[in-house]
Structures are given as structure tokens and as C-alpha cells.
Subunit: 657 residues, 2 copies
């Protein structure tokens, strides 16, 4: 079916490992990925599970636990010891859903590893690895998520018994949201305000046992449950927790950095920046997720648009593939290019993280702030654009996009909380802005900037020299100009508020829209520049390279057109340039059209991950939609029970009751 479409490229690209330097290595990786995905595909266990969209939340949770146990066995059985192999298996087994025990591996264990002393690690780590205890990470409270210093849970040291007393002093201090906290976990690390010797020392982390290892009953003083149903995340029992004078031994405070001695003396940590590393890592995972989610949605919408035929292009002619409508291309092709851009951004972030981690270990922390800002910014930039893009893909599928059969709603509700957790997006963008302002000041003081921010405050051309070719050089210059200008503007605005007497924090808030826009432009520039750099380094045949260049050019061109005012405001781009760009965009649609399906096939998502009747590789969408309908629980009887209880009485009632 898909084969209808001509295909000028042979890209054996894998998302996650797309076309790196070493193509042999790439091929081996692709083979390995497919090998592991095939294990899942061919495992009858997965096929007999009730489809996700027909499960109640309670069934989703139970199914997820069933899967967790099965996954564990299979990973052992197939000897998947490599981290990457395990991740591929798990993603295949939990497509666009979370494992309720996932936080044990994803947050509980890492916290122990990084914040625990050797004794603490010896005591809990192997239990957690073996899942003899199941832990989660309890930070957010009803009243506080973003503002960690505002957390209200207290841990008060009692030197008499050498214990901490954990308390939830108010309703808003109730822990709320932690994954797996509701019914799964029997342990958690709790973030709480440390009080000792009558003084508060800010937030610290404590190990807390929640439930008995004998019978899972709640330990004294603990109230705990799920937070109730959500937009998505049905497989996860996100929970709440109230603590009523719960005593834990002094040894339960994570004491690698800060310490409380037996007598209650508090010892400060030496360096507070060390935890930055983990945040960067987690955010780089989120960027990767944003890229993957958008790529999945594009795969579904573009494949379906090549199968779906509707309306007329030529009067009386056969109905065209809807992908032939220019408006359909206008909505989908820029998103496809965005998925590629985010893929490369995520790859870059992971590589940078690894490089810088080594520097950190060697005690060199100077690159950390830059990386930290980039991670925060890209997290926000990609999750915003990615999740909005998924909905565009869904709406592009017409009515069927709204059915769970399309697979798209599930991707959306899984992707969109990425805008919120691990740092709310607006707050993240403002963090980036703070860093950019710092850079700007540094530059103003005559010092130079290194790395990606070095363009800030540099002298620049006043007008673009773009012509109708719209070269990469001109594209990058335009994005640089825009970001630099917006950063400059924001700095000026702050300055002028301060000069007219506003205190710094007020000037900050009054400039924060401008600051947000500056940070956004900075992240956008990164994605464009990095895309261009990445495909330059790709070792692919000339045809593939040509196609990737087109995709990249579209990303750059469309991004300018979407934000045209910001590029035109100081006349850097003119109306004439805008015309070049508009023409270029339409030309790129034409040249990309024959490769569009191949470009999503290259993401290499197997059908069992997409779980989409519309995005099937074989194009048999109508049969699949029909089969999906047949499976609905309400179709299992010809006459539904509500006929007897509701409709029959309704229809036979006297009209004037």
C-alpha cells in the first residue's frame, strides 16, 4: 500500500541512532534493535492482553504490573544485560505508557546511588535492584511543585531517640503526584525541610518505609493512596502521602553530602552543583521522548495520508491521496522536519552530557551552567512544540484521528505532561533567560564567551543577504540575529526598568515575556544549527544526503515564516526575503512529497509500538478500524443490558408523565 509512493532514498536510519559516522556500527545497532523488538512482537504473551484503550484505569494498572513481571523474566531469559538493550525491550513492552515500578529504577535507585553513603547503599541498593523493596521519589506536594524551597513537609531531628520525625504540617504539604506511590511502593525517598537544633536547613532527602514487607499494610502514621484519574498515565498509580509524626532512624537521611550528627549538629555539603548532572540527564531523556513521540505521530499521520483518499484534485478524477493536498503538506511536513530536528538535538545533548560528565568527574565544573541551561531550554522547547505537533497530526487524520484506534490520543497524553514535570516549561525558559542575561553581562564587561553562546553580543550584519536559494548560511545567520537581538532587547528592557527605579526582581518580572521570547529564540537557533551540523557529518549516499538537506532546509525556512515578525522587526529580513522563503517552502513541499513516507519509515517504529490502525505499515487501515470496533466490550451482545433497564421503559412510557 505504502509502496504506491515512489521513494528516492534508502535510509537505514534508526531513531535514537540515526546515521552516525560509522555506518557499519549503525547497521549493527539497527539489527540489534529489530532483533529485540521482534522478541516482543513474537511473544504471544503481549498479544493476549486486553487492548489498552478498552481497559479501565484499574485494569490498565493491573496489566502494567503483569507486564512488569513478564518483562523482567524475559530480559533475564534473553540475556539482555546491556542498558540500551533493556531500554529497547522495555519501550517495546510499554509503548507510550509508564511502568508503575519504573520510578524504582528511574528515580529511587539513582537518588540512593548519588545521595547515599556507602553504608546506605549497601543497605538498600541491592534490595531495590532485586525489587525486594519497591521505592519511589516523593517530592511534589499539593501546594508546591516548581518552588522546592517552599516544600512544607518537615523532618525534625530528635537527638534523644536519634530519630527524625516526619510530618505533613498542613493539607497543602500532602505529597501529591509521585509515580507508583499510590498502591505499588513500600518505600520512598521523601524531600523534606530539615530541622535540627531549632534551625531549618532547607530541603534534604530521607528514606522512608511506607508499607509492611509482610502484608503491604501501611505503617503507623502514614496515610497514602492514589491521586485519582488523570488525562493519561492510567498505568501509573501516582499517589499522595500524609505523614503524621512518623519516626525514622537518623541513618535514613541521605548523608553523602550534608550530614546530621548524633547530637544534631548539621554539616553543610561542600558543593551544591553536583546534583545538576542528574537533572541534565533526566531532561535529555525527556528531549529524546519528545522527539520520539512526535516521530510516532508523524509516522501515523503521514502513512495514513498516503492511504486515505478524499475529495477531488482534478474534476471527475480519482480521489487523491490526501497527502497530495498542499494544506495537508503544510501541516505535516514541517512537523516531520521538526521530528528530525529534535532527534538530532537529543543526540547532541546525550553526547554533550557524556563529554561534560567526564569533565565534572575530573573536577572541571565550568561547562556545567551552559549545559544545564541548554538542557532546561531544549526540554521546554521540544516538549511544547512536540506535543502541540502531535495534536496537529491527529487532527490531520480527520474523524478517525479522534478514535483511540488511531493510537494518537495515547501518544498525546503520554507526551504532554513532559511540558510540566521535571521543570515546568515556562519556568525552564526563564532559567535559560537568566543564564543568557548572565552571558550578556559577561560580554558587556568585555569578557569573551565560549561555546554555543559565543554569538551573544557579537557585532552583526544589519541586513540579511538571503536570496531565493535560501542557503543554510543565511538561515543560520537569521536565527542568530533574531536570538541575539531578542537577548539584547530583553537586557535593555531590564536595564531601563532598573534605571527608572524598579528593584531587580520587579524588573525581571516586568521583562519576563521578552526574556521568554529570547530564551525561545536561543533554543530554536540551537535546533537549527545543530540540525545543519549533524547532517553535514552524516555519512550517507548522495541521494539520502540531498533529502536530509531538504528536510533540514524546511525546518529552517518554516521556523522563520512562523515567527516572521521577530526576524523583520529590525529590518534584518524584508518583505522580499519573506517572499523567497514562502516560495522556497512550497518548492520544498513538492520535492519532499515523494519521500515523505520513506522519511517516516526511516524512524523504524514497528506496528506494535505505534498501536495504530491508521499508521500500520501495510496500509490496511479500514480493516483494522473495523476489527478494532468489533473488539469493543459493548459489542459482545447484540442488545445491550441498558435496553432493558433504560431504553425499553423510556420508549414505552406515557409521553406526558
Amino acid at each position: 500500500q505504502q509502496q504506491n509512493d515512489q521513494n528516492q532514498i534508502h535510509v537505514e536510519m534508526i531513531n535514537g541512532e540515526m546515521v552516525e559516522d560509522d555506518s557499519d556500527k549503525d547497521k549493527a545497532k539497527l539489527k540489534r534493535k529489530r532483533y529485540i523488538e521482534n522478541i516482543v512482537r513474537e511473544d504471544p504473551f503481549y498479544r493476549q492482553l486486553k487492548p489498552w484503550s478498552y481497559c479501565s484505569v484499574e485494569e490498565q494498572y493491573e496489566t502494567a504490573l503483569t507486564k512488569h513481571i513478564h518483562v523482567k523474566k524475559q530480559i533475564e531469559k534473553h540475556g539482555l544485560t546491556d542498558r540500551n538493550d533493556m531500554m529497547i525491550y522495555k519501550q517495546s513492552a510499554f509503548p507510550n505508557e509508564t511502568d508503575p515500578i519504573g520510578i524504582n529504577t528511574g528515580m529511587f535507585i539513582p537518588t540512593l546511588e548519588q545521595q547515599g553513603t556507602e553504608e546506605q547503599k549497601a543497605k538498600w541498593l541491592s534490595l531495590a535492584y532485586q525489587e525486594k523493596i519497591i521505592g519511589t521519589y516523593a517530592q511534589t506536594e499539593l501546594g508546591h511543585g516548581t518552588f522546592l524551597r517552599g516544600l512544607e513537609t518537615t523532618a525534625t531531628y530528635d537527638p534523644k531517640t536519634k530519630e527524625f520525625i516526619l510530618n505533613t504540617p498542613s493539607l497543602s504539604a500532602t505529597k501529591f503526584w509521585p509515580g507508583g506511590l499510590g498502591r505499588t511502593s513500600n518505600h520512598c525517598v521523601v524531600v523534606a525541610q530539615l530541622y535540627t537544633q531549632g534551625k531549618c536547613h532547607g530541603i534534604h532527602i530521607f528514606m522512608l518505609q511506607l508499607r509492611s514487607l509482610e502484608d503491604h499494610s501501611l505503617l503507623p502514621g502514614i496515610e497514602n493512596g492514589v491521586i485519582g484519574n488523570k488525562f493519561g498515565f492510567g498505568t501509573n498509580d501516582n499517589g499522595y502521602l500524609k505523614l503524621n509524626s512518623v519516626r525514622i532512624p537518623r541513618e535514613n537521611m541521605m548523608m553523602r553530602y550534608s550530614k546530621v550528627l548524633e547530637d544534631g549538629t548539621y554539616i553543610k555539603p561542600e558543593n551544591t552543583k553536583v546534583t545538576y548532572g542528574v537533572m541534565v540527564l533526566v531532561r535529555s531523556f525527556i528531549v529524546r521522548g519528545a522527539a520520539l513521540h512526535l516521530a510516532e505521530a508523524c509516522t501515523i499521520a503521514i502513512r495514513y495520508s498516503a492511504v486515505r483518499r478524499q475529495s477531488e484534485l482534478t474534476p471527475g478524477g480519482i480521489e487523491p491521496q490526501i497527502l497530495d493536498y498542499q494544506t495537508q503538506q503544510y501541516r505535516l511536513f514541517p512537523l516531520l522536519s521538526t521530528a528530525y530536528a529534535f532527534h538530532f538535538a537529543s543526540t547532541n545533548m546525550t553526547e554533550t552530557y557524556e563529554r561534560i560528565s567526564k569533565q565534572i568527574e575530573a573536577g572541571r565544573l565550568d561547562q556545567l551552567p551552559q549545559l544545564h541551561a541548554l538542557a532546561a531550554g531544549l526540554k521546554a522547547f521540544t516538549t511544547y512544540a512536540g506535543s502541540a505537533g502531535i495534536e496537529v497530526c491527529r487532527i490531520c487524520c480527520g474523524g478517525h484521528g479522534y478514535s483511540h484506534a488511531s493510537g494518537l490520543p495515547k501518544i498525546y497524553v503520554c507526551a504532554v505532561p513532559g511540558c510540566t514535570y521535571e521543570g515546568e516549561n515556562t519556568v525552564m525558559m526563564l532559567q535559560v533567560a537568566r543564564y543568557l542575561m548572565k552571558c550578556h553581562r559577561t560580554k558587556q564587561q568585555g569578557k569573551s564567551l565560549s561555546g554555543f553562546v559565543s554569538y551573544i553580543g557579537e557585532p552583526m550584519e544589519k541586513n540579511s543577504r538571503m536570496d531565493d536559494e535560501v542557503s543554510f548560511t543565511c538561515i543560520v545567520k537569521a536565527y542568530k540575529h533574531r536570538a541575539a537581538r531578542l537577548i539584547e532587547e530583553a537586557a535593555k528592557q531590564m536595564q531601563s526598568f532598573i534605571q527608572s527605579g524598579s528593584p531587580a526582581h520587579e524588573a525581571w518580572n516586568k521583562s519576563s515575556v521578552q526574556l521568554f521570547l529570547a530564551a525561545n529564540a536561543h533554543c530554536h537557533l540551537f535546533c537549527v544549527q545543530n540540525f545543519i551540523d549533524s547532517i553535514r557529518n552524516c555519512k550517507v549516499d548522495s541521494n539520502t544526503s540531498k533529502v536530509l538537506n531538504e528536510v533540514c532546509q524546511l525546518y529552517g525556512v518554516h521556523g522563520i515564516l512562523e515567527n516572521l515578525g521577530e526576524f523583520m522587526q529590525d529590518n534584518f529580513l524584508t518583505g522580499q526575503h519573506a517572499e523567497y522563503l514562502q516560495k522556497k517552502m512550497l518548492t520544498l513541499f513538492d520535492v519532499m512529497r515523494p519521500n515523505a513516507v520513506a522519511l517516516v519509515d526511516a524512524f523504524d517504529f514497528p506496528d506494535h509500538i505505534l498501536q495504530s490502525c491508521l499508521g500500520r505499515y501495510d496500509g490496511q487501515v479500514y480493516q483494522a478500524l473495523y476489527d478494532y470496533a468489533k473488539m469493543a466490550p459493548m459489542n459482545q451482545t447484540e442488545v445491550h443490558s441498558t435496553y432493558y433497564t433504560h431504553l425499553k421503559p423510556l420508549m414505552s412510557a406515557d409521553s406526558k408523565l
Copy 2:
């Protein structure tokens, strides 16, 4: 709680009836609305229902039927005979959800009324009114929604038996999506290709009984069921239908306009435009819905933002209401202004529809195309912006926005299919564009245009004379200029393709992005201009008038900034103007801040319609979130059953299985 906020206005405005000419009439309407809403609020029946978000799809459906029966009784009991009264009651009883029997009233009966002969109406109408039969409207098929001429279901006349034979000739011809078709309806009107005397005469409408009135069993040749779970619409059993040579009497074809005589002779209808009226009406309801949904979301997000406190504005100061962050205002205030703009647009549409309906009845059809285009365009414009806006509101609530407790996901999934049904949005915009091109040609031929489109092709100023006041006059001129320019551009582009040899349909498709943008700008202009006109006519006190003017100005200013490139491309606006606009926007945020809560209170949504822990009038959000959590089915036992079946075995298993 909300009372924290100063409030300079006393607007007794109701959504739907906001500030009209006659303020006494308005007050009476508001009183009546509250009276009816109170009946629902105080009815213990609604309070004992299981909350929507804790219901499985099957429970949602059953609850909806239970409600339907209760609603019917209550409407009779309270003597609500006025159409508007009934609507208020129903909206209160089905907040952001659909009644599975709703299509009987909304589509089945109207189709009968408009397309049926007197005999047909006599036969079925009163049965349908009394719900002794329950009908739906079966148009969309697996393979065709937008392109009605492509529908594949056939109705072949057999003169021997004087019957039509209904058939589903292929899988893709399966009827798919009709509301209430899955398990509720026993009748439907089917849209099918009429064949008689060996010729196809295009689509016509037929009455079909689906199920026995005795026992609800399916009649011979009929296969029918629900289409399976969806993103939302859980209360509705949207269904599918396959017909295998189902015979219906000749009298079951809706014969008010077209006819098939006993011998099979086909008689053409006299006028095909008569059905336009209904489409306009339905679309005006959708615009109203878009306005309401966005207003609900704004109410929740803005009230919550006045209660939620997070982070610091002044170092060490108390945590501010998050509504004090400029970035929060930047995301919410323009949406608030959009909700007002859409409200007024919807009011205008309803009024115009009523005015023009009278003209149509008097045989004057000349205004119909203009109204038809406006309805299509506003439907698309408001549902796009409205549903995207709801998600912005949700994300502005941070983590709690993602819980169903916020009420926001329910509003979103109820609103967003408005982009798709009753005319897919992109297709609608292109219809508007087609009309605009026709207007443009008319003008080029030297004829004049009347009504709202009269600005097209008029000579215009080349540069804006906007200053830092940003007057309404300058705002309207800018939007007019933009729309006129984009219409001109699209026409030129089409022209140039045609001149270089493209056939018209190809030129159309190659210009369709440009056409889409032109139509969009046209609709945007309408909303701006109509907002300004509407508040000019409002009879309100001077304070309220001032506030409404500010809201309106923000709508105009923000819309320009969001699409700045389109206003700057031909230098109509300059960088200097952009700066005025940006400053103005920030100033408007400041002046709107104290009235923001009052402005959403003025929408007058009672708590039981919002169903939101975050949007409660009393501001007790944390208690409400906690209570919501407590109600979760999984919290009804301290240890969930999966502990015994899953966790215990997992934790006690040997690590090396």
C-alpha cells in the same frame, strides 16, 4: 478566596446573553438562567451519580441514559417548555458531554422536518418527539466523511416490489461515527447513492429501521455496533452500520424535494441551496460551543492562578499568586480576550442567521453565500483557536491541570472534535477562500461588493498611522489591510499559475496554503471588528465599558503580534509599530490584572458545570483535590488486590529466575 482580588467592575453578564441593548431584559435572562441551573444544582439525583472521571466507558454510557430519562422527567415537572430554558437545563445536566439520544433531537428530527413530506412527517415525527422511536443520522462512512459525493452506500430502487435495496458494497462503505448508532438507536436516516432505472442520481436520504421495537434485536441484513473507545465522547455510543440488501418501502425515501415515482422515474429537486440554512445553524452552535469551552477553561485557569501561590517575586517575600507572573498573564489574558471575542462572534452569527432566515423564507437567497462562508470560516477559526487555548489553560495549571480533577481534560476532549465534525476545518477554510476569490473576481470586474466583504479590492492606505495609543481604528485598518493583501496575493498566485499553463484545479491546490492564510485573516478581521462593534453597542456603566475596551484592545493587539509578519511584509506596519504594540500589550496586562477574576466570574459558570477542583468559586482547591483523590476506586481498600497477585510474588521471587 477570590475576594482577594480587587474588582473594579460589576458586570452581570451571562455567557450566551452577555450585555445586550436592553439591560432589564438581560437581568431577567440571567435570573432565569440561574433559576434553571439551580434546579440542577439542588437536585440530589445528580449528586449521587458516580463522578464521570471514575466511570468506565460503559458506565459513562449508562449514566448518560439514566440522566436522559431523569432530564426528560424534570423538564416536564418544572414546565420548561421554552427552547432556551430546555437548553440551559440540558447543558447543566450534561456538562461537557453528549447525550446518546441527543442526535434524535439534534439531527434525526430536523432532517425529517426539512426533508420529509407531510405524510412522512405525520408518520414518524411525533413518534420521534415522544421517543417511541430513537433515531440517528448516518452519513459518514469508514472511507468518506468530507467528500459526500464519494459516499458508497447504495439505495437501488426495485420497481417490482416498490422498494429500495440498501447496500454496503465494500468495507469502506461501512457507516462509521454516527452518534447513538451503536446500541441506542432503533431508527436512522441513511445517506446513500440513489440508483434507479440504471442511473445514479447522487446522494439522497432514506429512513431505515435498524432494530425491532419489540426486543431491540437487529433487523435482517443489518450489522451494527459501537466503533470502540475514543479520546472522549465516552457517553456516546458512536456506531457503525453495515447493510446487506436491506429492503425498505419506496415511501422511506425523504421526498420533499427529490422524488422517485412508483415506476422508478426520478424527479429532481428544484433548489439545492435550501439545506444551507441548517448547516449555518449547526455551525453557529459550534461557534457558540467553542466560545463556551474556552470561557470555561479560562475560568478554571484564571481562578486557580489567583489561588495558587508559587515561587518568589520579591526575594524572601511571600509567594505571589501565579497570576502575578507576567508570563502567566501572557498566556492567559489573550485567551480570556479571545473567549470574549468568540462570544460576541457567536452572538452576531445567531442574530445574522435569524435575520437571513427570514429573507430566505421570503425567497431572497442573495445573502446566503456570504453567511454560509462566514459560518464555515468562523466554525474553523474558533474551534482551532478555542481548543488549542484550552490546552494552554490546562498547562498553565501545572501538574494539577493534568488530573481529571481539574476538569480541563474533559473540556478539551469535548471541544476538540469540533475541528473535525460538521466540516473539517481546513476544508472549511478553503471553502471560505473560494468565496473570497469569487468576491475578488466580482470586484475586479468592476462590480461592487456589499456587506462584510466590501473591503476586498478597495484602495487602501500603504502605511499604518498607528501610534503608541494603538486606537481601535488603527487596529481594524491593520487587520483589513492584512486580509485584503492576503486575498490579493492568493488571487495573484492562482492567476500566475493559470497563466503559466496550470489547469484551474491545479492552480487552486498549488495556492491553497496562501488561500488558507487569506481565509484565516478574513475570519480574524471579522472577530476583531465585531468585538469592537459589539462593545460599542453595550449599554454598561463607564467602568465596565472601560474594562471591556481593554479586553477588546488586547484581543486586537495580541492577534497582530502573533501574526506580525503578515502585517509587516509589505511595510504596512513597521518595527516602530511593533514596539508600540508590544508596550501596549504589557500595559494592558497590568490594567487587566485586577479585573481578571471578575471577567471570568462574569461568564457565570456554576461549579457543577465546571466540575473542577481548581476552578471552584470558593477557591478551596487543595481540599477539593484531596477529596477527589479519596474517592478513587483504588483507594477503597488499603491494600490493593494486585499486591497478592503481583507484588508479593514479584518481591519474594528469587532474583535470578
